[in-house]
């Protein structure tokens, strides 16, 4: 049987079947198509400006290694004029991070890019190994996630760079869309689908140039380009909603390979339709998604069951709700004494504003936060006080509350009633 020829050039022998559309391509065509698509993403979204300094969030894993390699190639080929460097976070996990950091160090040499490593130890005074020692194996992902988000920003700040690119791929984004739909969290769904996150409140932008690249194609690209990457995946199991979404997406991909992109597209459409209020709640600390897969992860694995319980309680109290609502609605219809209509109008206008987060600086470290202390400092306070239970308190910390649908619903009811 004659070998299948490449769909693209019709000359060389096809060696891969693209997971995205099942086209059979030769090695060269695949590499160039992959690069062209990332280029297209960068251009159509105007991700970069000429002369911009970019920090590539590098973990040594396949996504960030491919990102660094592709950006270097495209920067030279299309003359973006970017000043690229690698930024790594050292969580301080022996036997896991120190190995992957060696990979990043080799990448820095291979790609001729400067490398900066920011350690949890120097930033927070705690390495992850020490945190685990203190609080045990459960719940430490929360610390890791919160610390990492800040660490990337701080590392960029140290380099004087205002734009960090991360290796999030289409699978990550699709997973986030499905996960947040299951969790009922539209603001996060909207943030997760944006190619550029970070807002006016933050100096540092985040973007995902690989947003439309399939995970499988990233692996293929790394393989055919013989990139040097660290392939150990995170050992922690994903959070229950993410896990459920992940399984679902794997099944969808089997049925229709384009599903991943279709979900990303749906997520983008839905992001436009999310009530405006949701966008304003975007906190810079929550801007990123996925990461190593455990970033949003907590190892409890019972999130779905917990949400189910809350929802059941809500439904049980729903009948009471209407009984309370009716009289309070009547009272709003009666004008309050000594309040002129102008004031009332003003009050109505102020209400959404009261819900909005007021961003300020953390009293301790100066990081942007809506609270007195930023998330990381709150966690650190707990660690330093030798009070490991902070992890549990964190579940209802104000920032988390902001995105909790249950609470939002309650707040909406308060608004209705008031």
């Amino acid at each position: 049987m004659a070998p299948t020829l490449c769909f693209n050039c019709q000359k060389s022998r096809a060696v891969i079947i693209r997971p995205k559309n099942r086209h059979k391509l030769c090695r060269e065509c695949f590499l160039s198509v992959f690069e062209a698509e990332v280029h297209e993403t960068i251009i159509s979204n105007s991700l970069f400006t000429r002369g911009e300094r970019i920090a590539i969030g590098a973990s040594g894993g396949k996504d960030s290694t491919v990102l660094a390699s592709v950006l270097k190639t495209l920067n030279e080929r299309h003359n973006y004029g970017l000043d690229l460097c690698l930024l790594s976070i050292d969580e301080g996990i022996k036997g896991y991070r120190d190995d992957s950091l060696e990979t990043v160090k080799r990448n820095a040499v291979q790609y001729d890019m400067p490398l900066v490593i920011v350690g949890y130890g120097e930033l927070y005074g705690w390495t992850m190994d020490q945190v685990v020692e203190q609080i045990g194996k459960k719940g430490n992902c929360t610390y890791c996630g919160v610390f990492r988000r800040q660490a990337l920003d701080r590392g960029a700040e140290r380099l004087g760079i205002q734009h960090v690119v991360t290796g999030h791929n289409a699978d990550d984004v699709a997973e986030t869309v499905m996960m947040n739909l299951l969790r009922g969290d539209l603001p996060r769904l909207s943030r997760g689908t944006n190619i550029v996150t970070g807002s006016s409140s933050s100096d540092i932008r985040r973007s995902k140039p690989l947003k439309y690249a399939y995970e499988k194609e990233i692996v293929l690209y790394a393989h055919h380009k013989q990139l040097d990457y660290f392939s150990t995946e995170c050992i922690y199991s994903p959070e229950a909603f993410r896990g459920s979404a992940r399984t679902l997406i794997k099944d969808l991909e089997k049925i229709r390979p384009s599903s991943i992109l279709d979900i990303v597209r749906s997520g983008e459409e839905m992001a436009i339709l999310v009530p405006i209020l949701g966008d304003e709640q975007a906190a810079p600390e929550e801007a990123s998604v996925g990461g190593c897969g455990s970033q949003n992860g907590r190892t409890r694995g019972s999130e779905m069951a917990e949400m189910e319980k809350t929802l059941a309680q809500n439904e049980a109290s729903a009948s009471l709700e209407t009984e309370i609502k009716l009289p309070s609605q009547q009272t709003t219809a009666v004008p309050l004494p000594k309040t002129n209509t102008k004031k009332q109008k003003k009050m109505v206008q102020q209400k959404p504003a009261a819900k909005k987060q007021v961003l300020g600086k953390c009293e301790r470290c100066g990081y942007i936060t809506s609270q007195r202390w930023c998330h990381a400092c709150t966690l650190l306070e707990g660690l330093n006080k030798n009070r490991p239970k902070t992890a549990i308190e964190m579940e209802i910390s104000p920032e988390e509350e902001e995105s909790s649908t249950t609470l939002r619903r309650q707040m909406e009811q308060v608004q209705l009633a008031g």
Binding site: N45, S259, I272
Partner: protein, 369 residues
């Protein structure tokens, strides 16, 4: 009745033996029917209390009936309300009910034709009017469809064969779509267009759909998975649609199992309802359509987390159609407004695609899926 000893009395009336357990309430048959009916009554109240201007005819709503469990139960519930209302002397006029049945044999050759069911329905529900149409009636009701399909299907479809009957024409078109997912997707688009066009021709102001809670959850997830994110504002939400009439889903608070209990209470429903073919377990995932996969997902997850699954639809209902970014262009196939989401990557769309298709319809085109 003091002398009466009940093993487990109904929690509502305390006068009869409880036979059903719903949302941790043990209820007797009558109280169950009232409880379930109330959940639907709440959703259709607006229609029931409608008063039309003097001298004008009552407003009409359309109920598409597949003779499956959910739509039959919806018909029964809405009809019961209607009858009850008309029996009262000074009640608001409410609405007229028109029922449309799409001949199942025109959708799938393996389904038997309805046969006498139509007469049976008309007999049982004399206040409603019934129409049966084959799927290819869409050509007649949506005049431009005949031109759209050949352009949509492209080369794989023999376009200019005038000798074909409308049915053969449609069958040939549908046969040109090879993947299960795309075929199911395009079928549902055609069915919706037929129903909407019929409703408009008959001057109905709204359509009430028989989707239960779990169906809506599956539909939500499937729509997202097929790239129809912006359609959630009308596919699973109550209110105005891009088609210029209202959609409502009165069964949105009820699970399929609860509908089954309701149906079991009424003998007149048993010979009308055509049971769904059971979900077969030994089909490879890759041979399912996305709609089927999502039905399975919702039914398996819903067994453990029914609330989480219902919440999926409630979340989708929060999306605001008014924020849709569009230049008013409509998709030639599904007739919805094309969403111009900013920064969207259109690489997947081929240059050969006829313009004016939405992302998802383009995805389901033969040869691309």
């Amino acid at each position: 009745m003091p002398g009466k000893e009940l093993l487990s009395p109904c929690m509502d009336c305390r006068e009869a033996e409880a036979v059903f357990l719903i949302r941790s309430r043990h209820l007797c048959r009558n109280c169950y029917v009232r409880f379930v009916g109330h959940k639907v009554l709440r959703r259709t109240e607006q229609y029931r209390l409608r008063r039309s201007a003097p001298g004008t005819p009552r407003g009409k709503i359309l109920l598409p009936l597949s003779c499956g469990l959910a739509s039959s139960v919806l018909l029964h519930m809405v009809y019961t309300q209607m009858k009850e209302q008309r029996s009262r002397p000074h009640a608001p006029e409410g609405f007229d009910l028109h029922v449309l049945i799409i001949d199942p044999s025109s959708i799938s050759s393996s389904s038997p034709p309805l046969g006498e069911a139509l007469e049976l329905l008309q007999q049982r529900f004399p206040l409603a009017s019934f129409t049966q149409l084959p799927l290819h009636a869409a050509f007649e009701l949506v005049p431009d469809l005949g031109g759209v399909l050949p352009r949509y299907a492209g080369e794989g479809f023999n376009k200019d064969d005038a000798s074909l009957s409308p049915k053969e024409h449609l069958d040939a078109f549908r046969a040109s779509i090879s993947s299960n997912t795309s075929a199911a997707d395009v079928d549902s688009v055609l069915v919706t267009r037929l129903i909407v066009a019929f409703a408009k021709r008959n001057e109905c102001f709204g359509i009430i759909w028989g989707d239960s809670d779990d169906r809506l959850a599956a539909k939500t997830l499937a729509s997202v998975a097929k790239g129809r994110g912006s359609s959630l504002t009308w596919q699973v939400s109550d209110g105005m649609t891009p088609f210029g009439l209202e959609f409502r889903f009165p069964l949105r608070d009820l699970f399929t199992a609860e509908l089954q209990n309701y149906a079991d209470c009424f003998a007149e429903l048993t010979d009308i309802i055509k049971p769904d073919a059971p979900l077969s377990d030994n089909i490879l995932t890759k041979n399912l359509s996305i709609d089927q996969l999502m039905l399975r997902y919702v039914s398996s997850q819903g067994a453990k987390y029914p609330g989480v699954m219902s919440n999926v639809t409630r979340t989708a209902n929060k999306l605001q159609a008014s924020q849709l970014s569009t230049n008013g262009t409509r998709c030639a196939l599904c007739d919805t407004l094309i969403c111009n989401s900013k920064g969207v990557y259109n690489q997947a769309l081929h240059d050969t695609s006829p313009s004016q298709l939405c992302y998802a319809c383009d995805r389901s085109r033969p040869g691309l899926s």
